[in-house]
């Protein structure tokens, strides 16, 4: 177990030293969401209507953007070889890296979500649900994204491919996340989409580390 936390601590330390990866992801999240009123016009009614969607799409893009180098950096400097020699099974190493990534990027996004909600005129009543949905959904985004990052790790400039591979897999999370937020905004029941969101995350938790580990092994060969 200590090796697991070793991986987590290492990635957290690197993120901290690299100067605010969290800040950057959150910044991106907020900037993209803030671009929207510019792009679609400032009419408050329109804005309120599209708010849940815009929030989720920009959270998704922020995650995606920060993900493409999740394994690539370790591949390029040979750290992946060392990670593969840890006594930890490779899928646990992946899980540790994803956990660190979520702590650095996902969690700050969750915390920033209400701010973006305010920017986009989301009704106040929807805020608790938005927070809950984000908390349930962002781990799935990190986990699924890890598969794409692992598949392209050994491939030079494979990063460009990550969105194409991962976005289709993100759709269910996106749908249920938006559904929960929109339902809350309209005062409708939210239990069902939240449950579905949670089960997606659970599924990702089972599938993603194993799939990513399989993909990473290719990069070692």
């Amino acid at each position: 177990m200590s090796a697991f936390w070793g991986v987590v601590r290492r990635d957290l330390l690197i993120a901290r030293r690299q100067g605010g990866s969290s800040l950057l992801a959150v910044g991106f999240f907020v900037v993209v969401a803030a671009l929207f009123p510019f792009a679609v016009g400032a009419d408050p009614a329109t804005l309120r209507g599209v708010a849940p969607g815009v929030i989720w799409v920009s959270a998704l893009l922020a995650t995606l953007l920060s993900l493409d180098r999740l394994f690539q950096a370790d591949f390029e400097d040979g750290s992946l070889d060392v990670l593969a020699l840890s006594p930890l099974p490779l899928f646990m190493t992946v899980l540790a890296k994803v956990l660190a990534h979520w702590l650095v990027v996902g969690l700050p996004l969750v915390i920033a979500a209400p701010l973006v909600g305010v920017l986009l005129n989301l009704p106040l009543a929807a805020f608790p649900v938005l927070l809950g949905a984000a908390l349930l959904g962002t781990p799935a985004l990190s986990l699924i994204g890890a598969i794409g990052a692992a598949l392209t790790a050994g491939v030079r400039r494979g990063g460009v491919l990550v969105p194409l591979l991962v976005l289709p897999l993100y759709i269910p999370t996106l749908i249920f996340g938006v559904a929960a937020t929109a339902a809350a905004a309209d005062g409708l029941p939210v239990a069902e989409p939240l449950m579905l969101l949670a089960s997606l995350t659970l599924m990702a938790l089972v599938v993603a580390p194993v799939a990513s580990a399989g993909a990473l092994r290719l990069a070692l060969g």
């Binding site: 598969i147 598949l151 491919l161 194409l164 289709p168 897999l169 759709i171 399989g214 290719l218």
Partner: protein, 246 residues
């Protein structure tokens, strides 16, 4: 004891080549016959729909294409799993060559669907419709799978990477199939493959099934043909390599 790995298996004529050579003419003939019969039944023999009129005939292309798109993806994932576990290159090649055909079926279903939608729903495309959009996602999945094969130089690695993606993507299939039940959509719910039997009139059901048979036969023919082409190509390369290393 040496198991010849990868490409070198293709240096020898495989059982597959002999077998497929024997099957191919039959599936080709079957394809032609079924298409002829299916098109006759669909366009001439079957009645126009009471509500939809003649446009209902698009159904005989749309529905089999949509079914095949889903079926081919599942098959692709199964081949991928076999290739991944048993490391058999033939399964990898089969999976790889399913993809373009499946993407073609998906595109056909999308195009016929929106052609049909224009008169039926008054719109080509309806974003809120879970069936439609999730089906578009299937198209993107196919594209991602094809792209992933492209970026690896080493076909064995490409096969394993693509297999992982294919198996993970399988999760989207039930979402697509059940989307009609989960969300109330424009698109009609399952009327053939449903618990409690089909709800379509048999005068339409028969042409539909014949067309489905035609699509299946076409798929098998094209798939076998593509696999043979790729195996031959790899065999040439393997022989060249063995010569070079001799």
């Amino acid at each position: 004891m040496t198991v010849m790995s990868g490409w070198h298996r293709f240096a020898n004529p495989t059982r597959f080549s002999r077998l497929s050579a024997r099957i191919l003419p039959w599936t080709l003939a079957l394809t032609l016959v079924l298409f002829a019969a299916g098109l006759y039944l669909a366009l001439v023999a079957s009645p126009p729909d009471a509500r939809q009129g003649e446009t209902v005939r698009i159904m005989y292309l749309h529905v089999p294409a949509a079914w095949m798109a889903l079926f081919v993806y599942v098959l692709l994932a199964v081949f991928s799993g076999m290739g991944y576990i048993w490391k058999h290159p033939l399964a990898d090649i089969a999976a790889k060559n399913c993809a373009p055909i499946g993407a073609g079926f998906t595109l056909l279903a999308l195009v016929t669907g929106s052609l049909w939608g224009a008169p039926m729903w008054g719109t080509w495309w309806e974003w809120g419709d879970a069936r439609l959009t999730s089906f578009l996602i299937l198209f993107f999945l196919y594209l991602g799978y094809i792209a992933l094969w492209q970026v690896f130089e080493d076909p064995e690695k490409a096969a394993r990477a693509a297999a992982i993606l294919a198996m993970v993507g399988l999760i989207n299939i039930p979402v697509i199939h059940f989307s009609v039940q989960w969300w109330h959509t424009l698109h009609q719910p399952a009327s053939v493959f449903r618990a409690g039997g089909p709800t379509i009139d048999s005068s339409m059901l028969w042409p539909l099934f014949v067309m489905l048979g035609a699509f299946k036969a076409y798929f098998v023919t094209v798939l076998l043909w593509r696999i043979r082409a790729e195996v031959a190509e790899r065999r040439v390369r393997a022989l060249q390599m063995m010569q070079a290393e001799a």
